[in-house]
């Protein structure tokens, strides 16, 4: 691999990793703060992508579709928390798994009813349609760079929100001691509702901004969900920092696993098995630190 294509792959893996972080951070916050495992998180990613596609078609502008989509998914998140998730806080994880699995089936079918079963594409919006030349023969799409930049900005904003604001303090206190927070007169139910809706919106937003680079298709939520789980397992439950590190790590392993070749007895095994690399990484981390890199010891 020469330097130019190495650079392209590096940028690809960082962009993929950052996108994964955006999805997984919502998962890990909901795990860490409310103790809820949400299988339907991937469905919100899918819903985001379909919203980006259909709203862009209706409104005629991707940039207008984004805010409308965010408002809609925050509302959806609030509704889901109010209808279902809040009834699960005191319940065993088993029922959280079951209920959110039921939601996946329902969301997939609703998606089929509303948007059909076809694969769709969203055109890359102006002004990010061009490419930046890296070497004489290789260039890199500006839109992908924009995705990375947006996620970095969001990550910094999240850091300040959690570490420096009153809301963030409530969130951190809620994770540490629910009863104490309630004694302080903080409305923990509203904090939880906000956190859940925030997580939903993050996943949906990831779906929206990735729609122009990957196609919009049925079942796209399932794949993303499982990789996000691996991110959370590697990073440690509840750790946003861990999610960031793990997501970038997986981005690197996955992207370079696909382009590196490894021959065993004349057979080229790596590209076919690159899907496994992510999971082998998880297995290694589990042996080393079963609670994840930045997780609290159990």
């Amino acid at each position: 691999m020469d330097l130019g294509s190495f650079l392209v792959q590096l940028l690809n893996s960082i962009q993929y990793g950052l996108l994964l972080f955006l999805i997984a951070s919502g998962l890990t916050l909901v795990f860490g703060i409310m103790g809820v495992i949400n299988l339907a998180h991937g469905s919100f990613y899918m819903i985001g992508a379909y919203l980006a596609w259909s709203l862009t078609a209706k409104i005629g502008s991707f940039w207008l579709a984004l805010p409308v989509g965010i408002v809609l998914t925050v509302a959806l998140g609030m509704l889901m928390e109010w209808l279902f998730i809040q009834k699960l806080y005191a319940r065993d994880h088993l029922y959280q798994v079951l209920l959110t699995y039921g939601l996946i089936l329902a969301f997939e079918e609703l998606r089929a009813i509303i948007w059909g079963n076809d694969v769709h594409g969203v055109t890359v919006p102006a002004p990010f349609t061009g490419s930046i030349p890296l070497t004489e023969t290789l260039s890199y799409p500006v839109y992908r760079l924009w995705i990375s930049a947006v996620v970095v900005v969001l990550a910094i904003a999240m850091y300040f929100l959690i570490q420096r604001t009153r809301l963030g303090m409530m969130i951190r206190a809620g994770a540490a001691n629910r009863e104490m927070v309630q004694l302080l007169g903080i409305n923990i139910r509203m904090v939880y509702r906000f956190v859940f809706a925030f997580g939903v919106a993050l996943a949906a937003f990831a779906g929206m901004i990735s729609a122009p680079v990957s196609s919009v298709f049925p079942g796209m939520g399932g794949q993303v969900l499982i990789v996000s789980f691996v991110v959370v397992v590697i990073g440690g439950i509840g750790s946003v920092k861990g999610a960031l590190v793990a997501a970038i790590l997986i981005g690197l392993v996955d992207t370079f696993g696909k382009v590196t070749t490894l021959e065993i007895a004349g057979f080229n095994v790596l590209p076919e098995l690159s899907g496994m690399a992510t999971y082998l990484l998880m297995a290694g981390v589990l042996l080393w630190r079963p609670e994840g890199i930045f997780g609290k010891r159990l």
């Binding site: 299988l39 699995y101 089936l105 399932g222």
Partner: protein, 318 residues
């Protein structure tokens, strides 16, 4: 004591009905009953983990699917596999996979365990989906059912739906009895103690890792057995048999019937498959109804159908 006797009588009546079924029911119903019994074995194996050991596995389909794939992989193309070698291969293969996954997964707890089992199962899914080992995403047909010939004599023919039904019935009863025995054994009590209070089991001197891993392997092996017969009946294998949707469905079966009772797993598998048929007959968007049902069960029926029946029969301790 009285409810014990009632249960025994009910069990014997059910067994007699099952034995007699092919003599009065048509092909459709015999095949449906075969499928239900296969899923019941699968659900019982998961109930050992979820209901008795307290291990919520969301990757149980990996073992079912591997058992199924081994039927196809054990057979030379266009020929039959040998039943007497391929069955132990499927069960043993699933057990081996469970040992490998369990070695990592059982170290973790709670939410981690759920995610890790799901992730490793998905890895197995990708192995069969992305490589050409067994037909990739299309899967493969099992052209000829496994051959049960032994020393020149063929005791049964799995291609015949009635004979397959009886073989599956034997496997179903055997697994039920086996699990009943195991749950009462020294091992079974340790596993149930771990579900209630793992920390205390450790301070009593039990190396809980070992027992949880053993339960995981046993459950995986039995799921492999179910997968074997699932593939034999269906006549084909595909990656969906390893997929996490099946893992979710079998978890639903266990809870629907009432977890922590083997009978509950059987009732749950039956109810789930019948509901599926009902919903499919109503609308092409039947998954919406199934998803809604699952949500309602999670919210309002945590002890499943057994929880509904409890007020009728009176509470039983333990």
């Amino acid at each position: 004591m009285r409810s014990d006797r009632t249960a025994t009588v009910l069990g014997i009546v059910l067994l007699l009905v099952l034995v007699a079924l092919p003599f009065f029911a048509g092909k459709y119903y015999v095949q449906l009953a075969t499928k239900i019994m296969i899923m019941a074995v699968f659900a019982m194996s998961l109930d050992l983990l979820v209901g008795y050991a307290g291990l919520v596995s969301l990757g149980h389909a990996a073992f079912y699917g591997l058992g199924a794939y081994l039927v196809a992989l054990a057979a030379p193309q266009y020929q039959a596999a040998n039943f007497w070698t391929s069955l132990p291969l499927a069960v043993g293969g699933a057990a081996l996979l469970a040992a490998a996954i369990g070695f990592f997964a059982v170290r973790t707890q709670g939410i981690y365990f759920i995610m890790v089992t799901l992730a490793f199962a998905q890895m197995v899914y990708f192995v069969f989906h992305d490589t050409k080992i067994a037909g990739g995403s299309d899967g493969i047909f099992i052209d000829v059912r496994p051959d049960a010939k032994i020393a020149g004599w063929t005791p049964f023919d799995l291609a015949d739906f009635v004979q397959l039904y009886f073989v599956v019935l034997v496997a179903f009863v055997a697994v039920y009895v086996l699990l009943r025995v195991v749950l009462r054994s020294l091992f079974g009590r340790v596993v149930q103690g771990i579900r209630v209070n793992e920390h205390r089991m450790k301070s009593l001197g039990y190396s809980t890792f070992r027992y949880k891993l053993a339960a995981f392997i046993l459950a995986g092996a039995l799921a492999g057995l179910a997968g074997y017969f699932g593939a034999v009946q269906y006549g084909a294998v595909n990656p969906e048999m390893l997929g996490w949707h099946l893992s979710g469905s079998v978890l639903m079966m266990v809870i629907l019937g009432g977890m922590g009772t083997l009978t509950g797993a059987v009732v749950g598998a039956t109810a789930f498959l019948l509901l599926e048929l009902l919903f499919q007959s109503l609308t092409e968007h039947w998954q919406l109804l199934m998803g809604g049902t699952i949500v309602l069960v999670a919210l309002f029926l945590p002890h499943g159908i057994a929880g509904l029946a409890r007020p009728l029969f009176g509470r039983k301790d333990g």
